[in-house]
Amino acid sequence: MTKPLVILEKVQKHFGDFIAVKEINLEINEGEFLAIMGPSGCGKTTTLRMLSGLEEPTIGEVRMNGQVMNKVKPHERDTPLVWQSLALFPFLSVIENVEFGLKMRGIDKLERKKRALEWLEKLDILEFSERDISTLSGGQKQRVALARSLVLEPKILLLDEPLSALDAHLVIRMQAVLVQLQRELGITFVYVTHSQSEAFAMADRVVIMGNGEIAQVGTPKDIYRSPQNKFVAEFVGRNNILTGIVSDVKKTKAMIETGSGVFSVILENNSLKKGEQASFVISADLVHLSTSEPKTDNTVYCKLISEEFVGSMVTLFLEDQNNHEFKVQMQERELSKFELKPGSKIWLSWSLKSTHLLEVN
C-alpha cells in the first residue's frame, strides 16, 4: 500500500497560451483507490490523459515503476482508461470489444476468447457476449467498458467520470461494483470525477484540484472535516466560512472578529498573530439551533431564508443582520420541533471544537 507506483513531479501542461495544469506533485500508491476531484476545467482530465500518454507533459516528469514515461506512446503503456463517453467500438460485438486490447497485444484467438469470457462473467454480462453494442443499456455498456480495460490485467486503471451518464440508482450500484473490484484485484484505480459523493464514497484518498493546481490531498474525512483552504471548503460544500481579524490569541484558541461577531476558534498546529486576517469554517451539520439566546460563545442571530430537502436531511439557508449567509444541516424530524417558516428568527450556535481554522490562502 505504501510504495508509490506513479510519481508526478512538477508536471505542467500548456496548450498554447492556456495553462491547463500549473504544477502538480503527486504520488499514487500501489493498490490505492485515488479520486481526483474538482470543478470542470480544473485540469483533472488533462492530468489523467498525461497518465495514459494521450498528452505529454510540457514541463516535469511522469514516472511509473521508476521509469520516466513522458515520451512513451499510449499504445506502449499499460494504462487502460475507462472513458466518459465509454468509446466502445460500435462495429464490434460485446466480446470483440473486450478482446480488442488482447488482439492488439498479439494474443491468439482461443486465449483471447477464454479471457474475455472470464471477464464478461465476472462483470455479470456473459449473456450479452454476442450482442451488438447498440442493443445494450447504459449500465451494461458501462460493464463492457470496464471489462475491456480490466481484461488486460493492468497495474493501474484510469477512470474518467465513468458514471456521469448513468441514472442515479445505477450510479450507486456501479460504485459498489467498482469498489469491490478494486479491493479484489488490488490494482490502483485513479478515478476522475466532479462528483463529491462518488469520490467520497469510493476513494481511499481524494485529490482536490482547482485552477490547474492541487488544492488538497487527503482521506475523504480529512477533506470533509479539515479543509486546508477556502477553495476546498467551498468546493466540498455545506461549510460556513467566516473571515475576520485576529483580536486575541490564547494557548488553544484565538478570537476572530468578523462582520457577524467575535468568535473563538480552536488552534491546532496553527500559529496566529494578533491583527492578522484569518478564515475558519464550521461544518453545516455541526451548527445547533435554539429559540432563546444560548449562554455560550459563538452565537449568531439569524433569519431563515429557505430550506432544501434531500431525503430526511434538510439544509437551512439563513442570514444574519449583515446578510452573511449561514447554512445548517440537520435531520428533518429534529427541525420540525422548531416550527420555522421563511422569515423566522432563530439563534445559531456551535461549540469551540467544531471550528476549523483554514491555512491562510
Binding site: 499510449p74 499504445h75 472513458w83 467500438f89 460500435p90 462495429f91 486490447g101 492488439m104 453494442i133 447498440s134
Partner: protein
C-alpha cells in the same frame, strides 16, 4: 386549411412534373429498346429483343463494355483511396491552409465537363499519355475522388474522436488503429464511395470522348452510333448503361443510409 391543401397539391404536381421530365426520356429509351420497329414512333410495333441480340453479337460493343468496366472499377478504387486519405487527413490533423486544401479537393466537379475534358486532353498529350485506357482512369479519378471523399468525410464526422484514442490506449499502434478501428468504422462509406465513383465513371461521356482515343468506352460508342444513323441499338445500350449506373447509385445509398440509421439508434 384550404389554401394549404391547394399549395400541397400544387407542390405535389410540381415534383411530379420534375420526375416526368427527368425520367420520361429514359422510359422511352427503355420502351423503344424492346420495340421491333426501326424508327421510334407510336403506335409501337411488337415486343422484340432483336436490338439486344444485335449488340450482344457486336464485338466493338463488347470491347467498349469491357473498357468501361476496367475504367470504372479502376477509377472507383483509386478515387476511393484518394478520397479516404483526404478525408482522414481532414479528420485527424489541423494545419495551416486547411480550408483552401479542402476547397481545392472539392473543386473538380464544379468545373464544366467540357473544359475539364479539354484541359485533360491538353495536359495528358503534353505528357504523351493520352489515348490510353489508363489516361481515362486518371481523368476519371480526378473527377470522382471528391465524391468518395465527401461521403467518407461525412462518416468520419459521426465518429466519436475518443474511439481512436481508445484504440491506442488499449495497445493499438497507429497502423493497427487504422486497420481495426478507422477502416471498419468507415466501411459503409467506403463501399458507397466505390459504388458512386464507379457509377459516375461508367456513364461519363465528355472526358472519355476527348481522352480515350481508340479505347472507346460505352458512352463514346453510343455517340458514334447516333452520329452514323438512327439505330435502336442505342436504346438497348442506353438501357444497359442506365441500369448499371442506377444499381451502383442505389447500392451506395443503401450502404450509407442503413448504417446511418443503425448508428443513430445506438
Amino acid at each position: 386549411m384550404n389554401s394549404k391543401r391547394i399549395l400541397n397539391i400544387a407542390l405535389g404536381a410540381y415534383v411530379g412534373a420534375i420526375f416526368v421530365f427527368v425520367f420520361a426520356p429514359i422510359v422511352f429509351s427503355v420502351v423503344f429498346s424492346f420495340n421491333s420497329q426501326r424508327f421510334p414512333t407510336i403506335p409501337l410495333g411488337s415486343f422484340s429483343t432483336e436490338w439486344y441480340v444485335k449488340i450482344l453479337n457486336d464485338p466493338d460493343i463488347w470491347k467498349a463494355a469491357l473498357n468501361s468496366l476496367i475504367v470504372s472499377s479502376s477509377t472507383a478504387v483509386i478515387a476511393t483511396v484518394l478520397g479516404f486519405c483526404t478525408a482522414y487527413s481532414d479528420f485527424r490533423y489541423n494545419f495551416r491552409f486547411k480550408g483552401p486544401y479542402i476547397a481545392l479537393i472539392l473543386l473538380p466537379p464544379t468545373i464544366p465537363l467540357i473544359i475539364m475534358a479539354l484541359a485533360m486532353l491538353a495536359w495528358l498529350s503534353k505528357l504523351g499519355i493520352s489515348g490510353q485506357l489508363w489516361s481515362v482512369v486518371i481523368a476519371h479519378s480526378v473527377l470522382t475522388a471528391p465524391f468518395a471523399m465527401a461521403i467518407i468525410r461525412l462518416r468520419l464526422n459521426q465518429m466519436d474522436p475518443d474511439l481512436e484514442s481508445a484504440s491506442w490506449n488499449l495497445g493499438g499502434s497507429e497502423w493497427a488503429t487504422m486497420r481495426y478501428v478507422i477502416i471498419p468504422f468507415c466501411k459503409p462509406a467506403i463501399i458507397s464511395g466505390l459504388c458512386l465513383a464507379a457509377a459516375v465513371s461508367f456513364d461519363e461521356f465528355a472526358v472519355s470522348w476527348f481522352v480515350s482515343g481508340l479505347n472507346k468506352t460505352l458512352p463514346v460508342v453510343i455517340l458514334e452510333i447516333v452520329q452514323g444513323n438512327i439505330d435502336p441499338q442505342v436504346n438497348a445500350i442506353g438501357t444497359f448503361v442506365f441500369f448499371t449506373s442506377m444499381t451502383l447509385v442505389i447500392l451506395a445509398q443503401i450502404f450509407f443510409v442503413q448504417r446511418q440509421i443503425k448508428s443513430t439508434k445506438s
